[in-house]
């Protein structure tokens, strides 16, 4: 089975990269946003292939809505969202390429340099994983969990305040 897993991993890993590349190779905003969604879904599938089912499904679910919302905002704020005018999506090309190459090298280097330990052969099934995850949230990582709540609240208030204050000031 491990070989099938590996093949699928490679296929979907490449798919994730390919979608990520498509994000920048299109001038249509919605297509760009949904390419990112494609990339995210491919990553979600990678999770699933690695039998982290909850994470994978969660990733696929959350990204579906979130990337659609991103499409909304790209649609609203970008010029020529249809890409009919052949607008160039990228600017400062050289700097970006340099940054991209450097970051890629760093990440790949880090991946190789890290000691990932031995490959686990025995791991709990999906249901047990969910249970353990729940226990983790409620026991050891409770602080993290509650802090996340506060962080989300802050984000929520900040975004709403910014979005609505502009609007309200216009209305006044």
């Amino acid at each position: 089975m491990i070989s099938v897993q590996l093949i699928l991993l490679i296929i979907f890993g490449l798919a994730a990269i390919w979608f990520g590349w498509r994000v920048f190779m299109t001038s249509s905003m919605v297509r760009s946003a949904l390419s990112l969604l494609g990339s995210m879904v491919a990553i979600g599938i990678l999770f699933i292939i690695m039998e982290a089912e909850f994470l994978g499904v969660l990733q696929i679910m959350m990204m579906g809505t979130e990337m659609s919302i991103m499409a909304i905002f790209m649609m609203m704020y970008m010029m020529d969202p249809g890409g009919l005018g052949q607008m160039d999506m990228y600017h400062q090309k050289n700097i970006s390429i340099a940054a991209g190459v450097i970051v890629t090298v760093l990440i790949v280097g880090a991946a190789f340099a890290t000691d990932w330990g031995t490959i686990a052969t025995q791991f709990p099934g999906p249901h047990e994983q969910n249970r353990l995850l729940g226990m983790e949230i409620l026991k050891r990582s409770m602080m993290i969990f509650e802090t996340a709540g506060v962080t989300i609240l802050t984000g929520m208030i900040a975004s709403i305040a910014v979005a609505l204050s502009i609007k309200n000031s216009v209305e006044k």
């Binding site: 089975m1 649609m75 249809g82 509650e146 975004s159």
Partner: protein, 120 residues
Amino acid sequence: MAPLTQYLLLLGMGITTAGLVWMLYLIKQSLGQTLDEPGKDIPAESGNLAPKPAWLRYHVHYYGYALLFLAFDMEMAYMYPWAVVYREVGILALLDMGVFLMILFLGLIYTWTQLGLKRQ
């Protein structure tokens, strides 16, 4: 059934669906080509020609909700594992999630008071 087999089944179903769709297209193909005519490829607009593309900046008037949703969305990540162990942990879990949801609810109430829960 081993989880991996299940995932392969899901993948297989997806591929099968795509294959069936492709077959449907083939059958359609056998029934003849579309005759090219002026106006036919223009989206119908109750009898008017709309030759211009519709891809414009589109004002989505519910963006306030969209922002709120983005924030709320994160909560899902915690809620499902929590729900699975809820009975096992008991009252602590209730309080725990209660606090968390209250925090989120505050955000909802804030948005509400800022008149964010309406069409922008």
